[in-house]
């Protein structure tokens, strides 16, 4: 069993190192194949471990070696496969394998083919370290590792200024959150004496509530960065600069869910501080509707899907914040499948349309790209939460949980967001695949993606459809570890009204979207229409002006302050003082040089002056010693 653990963990690393050997060479197909194969191996190992965990209910726990020891601090490289981590492992390895195979086709003509697979596998390795670690320090290693790989992959096309800028923004924003997480880790160590999950959580009930609240808050700050919760959310949309497989893997299924994973893993802590949980849930609800609103008008298909991810992350945090940890994990899993599928489908569209991102320039592609259309439509249906697709089981559960726990505001917000989600998802579908074939005006010649890429995407499609059926067996497995709260609305009438009502609301939104965007009168907006001039449209399309706010009030002042520090403080104040002291000494020397004028008369004058001074001193000292007691009397009288 330990061997399986190590295989699952290290196979991606081996693949990454293998591909790195070819890093500077032109494309060699074998790198893509080998890395995908190794990921497949990891997937198989994870599956076997999953079956083991389900059937036996036991964990697999290894301590590989010591990492840091100093004083009382002991941090090992330790890994654990329990119900939570094995779920994450399955999600990560499955989506990664699909994305790797897909990328062999997508990155077909790219010069950095080998480098891409090296980074991608390195990312998977970091993510595995993150979810499989048994202590907070190991989690942090994986945490920063995925940040690094995300930087390398967002900025993969490094000749593009926008890509490298987005990469730096992502890394720095994540770092801001990581500081919070680091403080949380320090708090845990100094209060419980260990960073191992098991022992730390066991010691927590004995701590003061205030300490626990701080730990919870700081850890959540770390989660906010990775999962792009407001206000650290701007990097996620900009991260779409990276190649689409990267968006599918990192920014839909894995890295961004790391924050949710952290909260789920720390559920024993958050159960003790329900107020913090309520804050998390409220923030999640806010983000859900906030992101959905921005997706309504956006004209970049990847950004719309990115906002959709952000919105769904909000859903997950609502669930986790309200204590429905298994629900959050379930939604994480289901979401990974259909969101990754959506991104990959969008990748197909982009590939066909020469990397064009504006859906208004597409239209009627369904005729040429039937398979992609079907996949994306079904994925969107799952996202919208229509029965019997996966999304229904996971999203509706969250709505039920909010309702049952009597957080009606959160429930309403999430319900509205569900409607918005359906609307914007199908807006994109309608604009791309239906209606007039507007792309012909722009000279595009779209074609379907390679067959093997479609084949690679199909497992995701399958899971997006059937994952709901896993709910019960999943529930049984994961509640060995997580609190087993079942959310039942007791009154059957209420239950049916709510469920059916939600479904009808969502379906109505879908129809509205189709009707509006399939019509023949859609043309590319050019800034003149009434809607485009309206205040709300401008607000939403500029992302509530938050990126501009950050740029004007945070980035620019920082840069200017740095220049001020350098030119005015360091050079003109600190250094000038040092040089000033040196100059004083220098000038004193220069002036004293006047004494050596070579003029006998002047020197004689100096001699006389010196003589007088010394004589006076001698007289004064002599008098002082003669009358020392009288002098002491006077001084003490003055209070010295």
């Amino acid at each position: 069993m330990e061997l399986l653990l190590y295989t699952a963990l290290f196979a991606p690393l081996v693949g990454s190192l293998f591909a790195a050997l070819f890093g500077a060479s032109p494309k060699t197909l074998v790198t893509g194949v080998v890395t995908s194969l190794l990921l497949g191996v990891s997937l198989v190992a994870s599956t076997i471990l999953l079956i083991f965990v389900i059937t036996s209910g036991q964990f697999v726990h290894v301590e590989m070696m010591t990492w840091i020891t100093a004083g009382d601090l002991y941090i090992p490289f330790g890994f654990i496969v329990d119900q939570i981590s094995v779920t994450m492992m399955m999600v990560v390895t499955l989506v990664s394998t699909v994305v790797h195979v897909y990328a062999i086709g997508y990155m077909d003509h790219d010069k950095g083919f080998n480098r891409f697979f090296s980074w991608l596998s390195a990312f998977v390795f970091s993510m595995m370290v993150l979810v499989m670690s048994d202590n907070f320090a190991g989690l942090f290693i994986g945490w920063e590792g995925v940040g690094l790989c995300s930087w390398g992959l967002i900025g993969f096309w490094y000749q593009k200024e926008s890509a490298t800028w987005a990469a730096n923004e992502a890394f720095i924003m994540n770092r801001i959150a990581d500081l919070g997480m680091l403080i949380g880790i320090f708090l845990i160590y100094w209060n419980t004496g260990t960073l191992q999950y098991h022992e730390a959580f066991a010691a927590m009930p004995a701590l003061e509530n205030a300490t626990l609240v701080w730990i919870g808050i700081f850890l959540f700050v770390g989660a906010m960065g990775k999962s792009a919760q407001f206000p650290l959310h701007t990097w996620l949309a900009d991260a779409m600069e990276g190649p689409t497989p990267v968006s599918a893997l990192i920014h839909a299924a894995t890295m961004v869910t790391a924050g949710v994973y952290l909260v789920i893993r720390s559920h024993e802590l958050y159960a003790l501080i329900p107020n913090v949980g309520l804050f998390i849930a409220s923030l999640g609800a806010f983000v859900a509707i906030f992101a959905a609103s921005m997706a309504l008008v956006n004209r970049d298909i990847k950004r719309v899907i990115a906002y959709s991810t952000l919105s769904q992350l909000g859903y997950m945090f609502v669930a986790a914040g309200l204590g429905a940890y298994w629900v959050a994990l379930f939604h994480l899993m289901a979401h990974a499948f259909f969101k990754a599928l959506l991104f990959l489908g969008a990748g197909n569209v982009m590939h066909a349309m020469d990397s064009e991102l504006d859906p208004f320039k597409m239209g009627g592609l369904g005729k040429k790209m039937k398979a992609t259309m079907i996949m994306m439509t079904l994925a969107s249906v799952a996202l919208a939460g229509i029965y019997p697709f996966a999304g229904f089981f996971s999203k509706d559960l969250i709505l039920e949980a909010a309702f049952v726990e009597q957080h009606y505001i959160i429930y309403t917000v999430l319900l509205l967001t569900a409607g918005l989600t359906a609307f914007y998802s199908f807006r994109i579908i309608a604009l791309i695949f239906h209606g007039e074939e507007r792309y012909k005006l722009f000279g595009f010649h779209p074609h379907e993606a390679y067959k093997f890429m479609l084949v690679a995407m199909s497992p995701l499609l399958l899971l997006a459809i059937i994952a709901g059926s896993f709910k019960l067996s999943y529930f049984e497995m994961v509640t060995n570890l997580l609190p087993a709260i079942e959310y039942h609305i007791h009154h059957p009438l209420t239950y049916w009204v709510i469920t059916l009502g939600t479904q009808l609301f969502v379906i109505a939104a879908i129809f509205f979207a189709y009707k509006k965007y399939m019509s023949k009168s859609i043309k590319v907006p050019d800034g003149t229409s009434v809607m485009e001039k309206s205040f709300f449209y401008k607000l939403l399309i500029n992302q509530y002006y938050i990126p501009r706010f950050y740029e004007e009030y945070l980035v620019k002042p920082y840069r200017e302050l740095s220049c001020v520090f350098w030119k005015h403080v360091d050079q003109k104040v600190v250094d000038a003082t040092v040089d000033g002291i040196a100059n004083v000494i220098y000038r004193t020397g220069e002036n004293s040089r006047e004494m050596q004028s070579g003029n006998l008369s002047t020197m004689l004058k100096w001699m006389v002056a010196g003589l007088v001074a010394l004589l006076s001193l001698a007289v004064v000292f002599g008098l002082a010693t003669r009358h020392s007691d009288k002098i002491m009397l006077i001084l003490s009288g003055l209070g010295v």
């Binding site: 004028s597 070579g598 003029n599 008369s601």
Partner: protein, 102 residues
């Protein structure tokens, strides 16, 4: 008639010393500098001799002899150098002698 005591000689010596000091400080002519130096030395001689007489200790007068001898030899050498300098530069103004400038 007032008794001439030690203090009178000392006052005389002080006055002569300050005259000499001022002269040393102010004179620009090398020859006049020598004069001032002689005045300084002789003022000290006066005080040596006076103190020695009034305290009955001959050490002071012996010292005065030493000072006279030293003064004489110093003037001899100095005047010799002065004449050589004058032959070369045709002036003995102190302000013009500044080759030892630092």
């Amino acid at each position: 008639m007032m008794e001439i005591g030690l203090n009178h000689y000392l006052v005389l010596s002080t006055i002569l010393f300050s005259i000499g000091l001022v002269g040393v400080m102010r004179r620009k002519n090398l020859l006049m500098l020598f004069f001032a130096t002689e005045i300084l030395l002789n003022s000290v001689n006066i005080s040596f001799a006076a103190i020695s007489h009034f305290y009955g200790d001959l050490t002071g007068q012996m010292f005065a002899f030493f000072v006279i001898a030293i003064a004489a030899s110093e003037v001899a050498v100095g005047l010799g150098l002065l004449i050589v300098w004058h032959k070369r530069h045709n002036a003995i103004d102190l302000d013009l002698m500044s080759t030892m400038k630092g």
